[in-house]
Symmetry: C2
Subunit: 226 residues, 2 copies
DNA sequence: ACAATAGTGTCTGTGAGACAGTATCGA
DNA sequence: TCGATACTGTCTCACAGACACTATTGT
């Protein structure tokens, strides 16, 4: 790609390009991550992130979506490129560059009856995973740590948290999601004020417990209205 | 990298992995980007970002550093992974995945007498480059746009701007850098208050024009002191 | 009536934005 | 003394944090 030092790419040693997917969801008040068990030899038997090799006719993002579909049967969920990991020895077999993607999905869309049926994938608490000295395949522990940090950082100034909620949600639920991602408690009144201009009421109410029901909201699409 | 669908990577079509480097600096009150002229055929003659193919024994970050060294003779400058571009047709010859890196360097460290001597690289105004319909090789226009946006975004909550200043700097100079990256004027008094806890005086003064000289500062390393 | 959670009004401190002023250099 | 730029004090307003209060459901 260089002028002075340009060479025919065909003359270069090629390498395999893979994608690893970090599919996050929220369940039981915790941030969970989809893991699979490796069948084949490097790190066989260990938990790992789902991943596939990028095919010649697809983009890395396509490959990430395919990996998600193969494990869960889901399509069209939120995907965001995380980082590209390229340590020389990250795969003991050969040189592999991996582009990591984060996927965020509301728990209710993850139906274990469909795609998870055969894949054998499961959800695990992301933060516990990082605290334990739990063995993971490849450099996946580092990848997860990178993703967890990014997630916490981007909550403040982006809409990522909303991808973990459904199309409509209650403010108490949304607050719980923010608290989980940030790792601390928030004050109800202030949180609601901060959210006020980003959401709009649907008119519906959430059924549920033996207490006052909460209103349903949806994310407001910010039309720059000036 | 997948459990159920794991395959021997050797059986997969490999692809070339390249890095492209966006070396930014500030000159004459503008944000400038290092460009080269392509010699070889796809897009020969067009301006392009410096880049190299990733060798089997180096990381993408190593490759980016090498690309910078080959064009400028510089080592040890600030590097940050930007994004990985993998459109299927981004190189007409063959499939190439490119990991883009941003490099930030103070103008005074870029000596055109040394490395730039033979390389034929030059600096160009980054914002003008994006406004003009100027032809650029490959998808480099999109890469530059991505970098410009990221740069503006990260000024607010990181220390990147300081990498464009030297080891020591004056507050007026630092303010100019922030203004260039953000694309707007800032108020002197407020800017200084915001910077106050991130910088410390060196004791030195900047020589210069026929007016009051300004104090020199350096970036304070935040020791979490609680 | 009570438990439990949803939702609101308001005080306070911090910090950004805006402006007006003072300080220090060379000529 | 003057032009030019460095640097500072302070007012205002918006907003985050913190707390106390009211509202509405099921039992």
């Amino acid at each position: 790609m260089n002028g002075m030092n340009a060479q025919d790419p065909a003359k270069h040693a090629s390498m395999s390009v893979a994608v690893d997917v970090l599919l996050f969801t929220i369940e039981d008040g915790r941030l969970k991550l989809l893991l699979i068990r490796r069948q084949d030899d490097p790190f066989a038997g260990l938990p790992a992130l789902p991943g596939v090799f990028v095919r010649p006719d697809e983009t890395p993002e396509d490959a990430a979506a395919r990996a998600i579909f193969e494990e869960t049967g889901l399509t069209g969920i939120y995907l965001e490129q995380l980082y590209t990991f390229g340590a020389v020895d990250r795969d003991p077999r050969m040189r592999i560059i991996s582009v990591a993607y984060m996927a965020l999905v509301p728990r209710e869309e993850l139906t274990f009856s469909a795609g998870l049926r055969t894949s054998g994938a499961w959800l695990e608490d992301a933060d516990e995973l990082l605290q334990d000295g739990r063995p993971l395949a490849f450099d996946h522990r580092q990848i997860i740590r990178t993703a967890r940090t990014r997630l916490a950082g981007k909550v403040e100034y982006t809409d990522i948290a909303f991808h973990l909620a459904g199309e409509t949600f209650t403010l108490p639920d949304l607050q719980r999601i923010f608290e989980i991602l940030l790792g601390g408690k928030l004050y109800k009144a202030n949180f609601r004020k901060k959210m006020a201009d980003r959401i709009e009421e649907t008119g519906g109410m959430a059924a549920g417990g033996s207490h006052r029901p909460s209103r349903l909201y949806r994310l407001k699409k910010e039309e720059p209205c000036s």
